[in-house]
Assembly symmetry: C2
Homo-oligomer: 331 residues x 2
C-alpha cells in the first residue's frame, strides 16, 4: 500500500516555512507477525513540536531529518497479524505525520470509540486535555470560586482549560487574539474574554474584567501576558507555565519589564511543567472528564484542516493563531 | 527615664536619605501593672523595612509617620510589674528603633541567653536564620549532594543560608559584591564564590563555578542575578524568592532579558515566600540549628554598627552592601 509522509528537511530558525518540509511517497510493508497496518484518520500538530524542529535537545529529542516526523495520530487498523487488534479497531500512536504505517501492535494504544470520536483522543480527551487538567488541578490546585486567567483561551489547551475550570466552579477570564476568538472563548464558558490584540495595556484590560485580581494564571503565551499576570495576581497567586508560544520562534532575546519582585511581595508560586511527568493523574482526569461530559459541560473544541499535505500549514498556523480549539489534520 | 527614638518623617522614593528620619527624645513612663521597662541592647535593620517606608500596603502595613519605627530588637528588663519577667531578663520585641520602651510584658518574648548571645536572636537564631531555613528546607527542599546558588551570600540571610546548606550536605556557590565579601563567603563555607561586580557576564561566571548547572537558586537580589539563575538552573530546578534587593529602591521600571521560557522547558518551580507564613517550621529549625551549633558548624555572622543615631545609616548601608552577615545596631 502506498502512503505519504511529511519529512523535516532542515532544523528551523525563526518561523516555520513550507520549504522546511517535504511530502514523500513510500510503500508500506505488509504486516509481519505481531504487526498491523494502520490507516491514519487524524494527526495532531502541537506548539511543542517547534522545539523538536530546532535540533536542540530539551526534554525531548529533536526530530530526525529525512524521516516522518513523530506526533500524536489516531487511525484505523486495516490489516492485522497481532492478536490484540483486528481490522476496524481504532488506535492511537505517536507515529505522526503520515497517511499510515506498518508497526508492532504492542506499541499502539487501542482506543474506545463507543462514546468518543477517535479524534477526541488527540484533543480534549487526550494529552491536550490532560495538559490543561494537570496545570489547573495539580500545578495551580484551583479552588471553587477562585478566578483563573486562561491565556490562549481559544487554543487547544486553553479551550479545554476554560471548560475544565468552569466545571470545577471557578470564574474564568480568557485572553485570545481577535474578536471572533474572544466570542469563541465566551461560547465555551469563559465569564469574560479580552482581545489582547485590541489593547496596548493588557495589565489594565485584565484588571477591568477581574478588578479583585486573579488567583491563578495559566501561561501559554509569555512576554506581555506574563507581565500582566504578575501585575494582576493576588497574594498567594499561582502560575502554571505550560508554554510561552510568543517566544518559540524568536531568533534574538526579547526583553520584558522586570516586575518579578511581585513574586516576593505577593508570595507567588510559578511552576513550569510537562504533561509526561504527571501521567499518574490520568485516572482522576478520566473520571472527572467523563462526569463533565455526561453533564453536557464539554465541547470538543476542534479546528480541522483537510489533507496530510496541509499539515505544515496547519502547524505554522498555530503560531499565527489560525486555530480555535485543538488543531487537527484530517487525512 | 529618657530615651531616644528614630521616627520616619516622610514616605520614601528611591534610596533612603538621612533627612527621611529624625532622632526624637522622649520620656519613658514608669511601668504600670503588667508592664515592664526595657533597655534595648541591639536593634535589627532589614531590607524588608524598605517596603514599610514606601507608604504602600503590601503583606505588611507601612510605618506610621512621626512615631518610632517598628522592628526586631533585643533588650534587658530594667524594671518590672509583670510576673513573668524580672530585671536582668532578656526579651525580644518588634518595638524597634529606640533605646528602650515601656510595654506590656505579655507582648514580649523572653529569650534564653544561657548558650546564645542576645543578638543571635535577631540574626542566625532568629527570623533571619529562620528565613534562610524556610527557603532552603521548605521552598527548595534541598537534597544532600545538590548544588545551591546563594545570592547575596555575605548578607544576613545569605550568610546563614550558606552555612545551613553546607550543614545539609549540599554544594554551595555564593555571589557577593567585592573581593572581601567573596572571601567572607568562602570563610563561612561556600565551595566557590563569585564577585558579581567584577563580571559583566554573570551567567558565564556561574557556569564556570558550577559547570553541571545548579539545582536550586536562593533569590535575594533579582535583575541580572535572576536572569543568570534561569540560564544555569538544571531540569526541575527550584527557586526560593526571598527578596530582590536590587529592585527595592527603583523609581522607574527596569527591564530584563526575557528568558522565562526556561520555566517551561526545564519544568522549573519558583516560589516567593515570607517567613511569617512558615512559623510552624520553627521547632524543626531549632532542632537542626542546635545540632549544627554543637557540631561547631555555625558562625554567628554579624556586622555591628554602634549607636541608635546611626541606625538610618546602617539601614541605608544594606543597599550599598556595607554589611557582612546580619546588620545590627548596638545601643
Amino acid at each position: 500500500m502506498k502512503a505519504r509522509e511529511i519529512h523535516l528537511n532542515e532544523y528551523l530558525t525563526g518561523a516555520p516555512k513550507p520549504e522546511n518540509y517535504s511530502l514523500v511517497e513510500t510503500e508500506l510493508a505488509a504486516p509481519g507477525d505481531g504487526e498491523v497496518l494502520v490507516k491514519n484518520l487524524y494527526i495532531s500538530v502541537d506548539p511543542y513540536m517547534r522545539g523538536r524542529m530546532s535540533g536542540i535537545k530539551t526534554y525531548i529529542d529533536p526530530f530526525k531529518l529525512g524521516a516522518a516526523m513523530e506526533g500524536g495520530a489516531v487511525g484505523e487498523v486495516v490489516e492485522s497479524k497481532f492478536d490484540g487488534l483486528k481490522p476496524g479497531d481504532h488506535v492511537m500512536s505517536m507515529l505522526g505525520w503520515r497517511d499510515g504505517y506498518t508497526a508492532r501492535g504492542d506499541g499502539l494504544m487501542k482506543i474506545d470509540t463507543t462514546f468518543l470520536q477517535p479524534q477526541a483522543y488527540l484533543g480534549i480527551a487526550g494529552l491536550t486535555g490532560l495538559t490543561a487538567y494537570v496545570g489547573i488541578k495539580r500545578i495551580i490546585d484551583l479552588k471553587e470560586g477562585e478566578t483563573l486567567w486562561m491565556s490562549a483561551g481559544a487554543g487547544a489547551v486553553g479551550s479545554a482549560g476554560i471548560q475544565f475550570a468552569k466545571a470545577m466552579g471557578a470564574k474564568v477570564i480568557a485572553t485570545a487574539g481577535g474578536a471572533d476568538k474572544v466570542e469563541y472563548c465566551k461560547s465555551i464558558g469563559a465569564d469574560a474574554a479580552v482581545d489582547y490584540k485590541a489593547t496596548d495595556d493588557l495589565t489594565a484590560a485584565i484588571r477591568e474584567v477581574a478588578p479583585q485580581g486573579i488567583d491563578a494564571y495559566f501561561e501559554n503565551v509569555g512576554g506581555t501576558h506574563f507581565t500582566a499576570a504578575m501585575e494582576n495576581l493576588k497574594q498567594y497567586g499561582r502560575v502554571a507555565a505550560c508554554g510561552m508560544i510568543q517566544r518559540y520562534n524568536d531568533t534574538a532575546q526579547a526583553s520584558i519589564p522586570d516586575n518579578l519582585v511581585y513574586m516576593v511581595g505577593k508570595s507567588l508560586k510559578l511552576q513550569g511543567f510537562i504533561v509526561s511527568d504527571h501521567l499518574d493523574i490520568q485516572p482522576e482526569f478520566v473520571k472527572d472528564l467523563t462526569e463533565w461530559m455526561m453533564a453536557g459541560k464539554i465541547n470538543p473544541a476542534e479546528t480541522i484542516v483537510e489533507g496530510l499535505e496541509n499539515a505544515p500549514n496547519a502547524f505554522a498556523g498555530l503560531f499565527k493563531g489560525e486555530n480555535k480549539g485543538k488543531m487537527l489534520v484530517k487525512i
